[in-house]
Amino acid sequence: MRYPLQQWTADGSRVVMIHQHFHVEKEDYANAGRISSQIKQMLKQLGVSSDVLRRIAISCYEAEINMIIHSYGGEVVLTLSNEGKCELRFSDLGPGIDDIEKAMTPGWSTAKASAREFGFGAGMGLPNIKRNCDDFDLTTSPEGTTLVIGFKVL
């Protein structure tokens, strides 16, 4: 079923249309991409255009994979508001990114050999995300990394 997004506008007040949490396990390669698929499916049913959907799917997949490969696990929070903004928040439990500047450099990767065998570790994750989203905010410390990315869906 498709819901036209244009009908969502409410009298200037912020109405959250979707707010959902997803749990990410450390090194759960077998399920990698599952959350991205669910989010893509949900947004597709809500009538998000295919171009925006493509950008969200790419970014979400890369961030989900990053958490699986590099973090101790964490969660993804999807928020879609009637202001026409889709926000994805990826929060993990550490160990943090040593050097954000290097991590943002295409081709640079700290992925282990086990991850590379599966075709991960191209060093294109964060650059792919940055290129595809409208808003990008990355904060990190040894206690955890939080990546918040936003997309205009209207």
């Binding site: 077998a30 991409g33 893509k40 493509r54 997949y61």
Partner: protein, 109 residues
């Protein structure tokens, strides 16, 4: 060209249950998932040697047409099961990615 031509004319092996009765418009060669996510186009046939189930996740998210496994590379049972679940086509060939690309080009892809 239709994906089914690769089976009928060139002997590619169909290893998932999905139909091959659809057109391949273009193709992409790559064995790094993020590279494929970042650069492949919707409806591309993806030529790779990766056999891990994540190729299906990437292919579906990126809306690729099918996966063609080159060099008869090993493919995991979970990958085939996932492709069947999603009605997604996987083909396999002993040829290299280059030789598969040449076939696609010669058939007008």
């Amino acid at each position: 060209m239709k994906a089914s031509l690769l089976i009928e004319k060139y002997g590619f092996e169909k290893i998932s249950d999905s139909s091959a009765d659809f057109e391949i418009g273009s193709a992409f060669v790559g064995d790094l998932l993020s590279w494929v996510m970042g650069h492949a186009k919707s409806n591309d046939a993806w030529i790779t040697i990766l056999g891990h189930p994540n190729i299906i996740a990437v292919a579906l998210l990126r809306e690729l047409a099918c996966v063609i496994i080159a060099h008869d590379a090993q493919i995991q049972q979970e990958t085939i099961a996932k492709a069947n679940e999603e009605d997604f086509l996987i083909l396999k060939s002993p040829l290299s990615a280059f030789e598969i690309s040449k076939i696609l080009i010669s058939e007008g892809v």
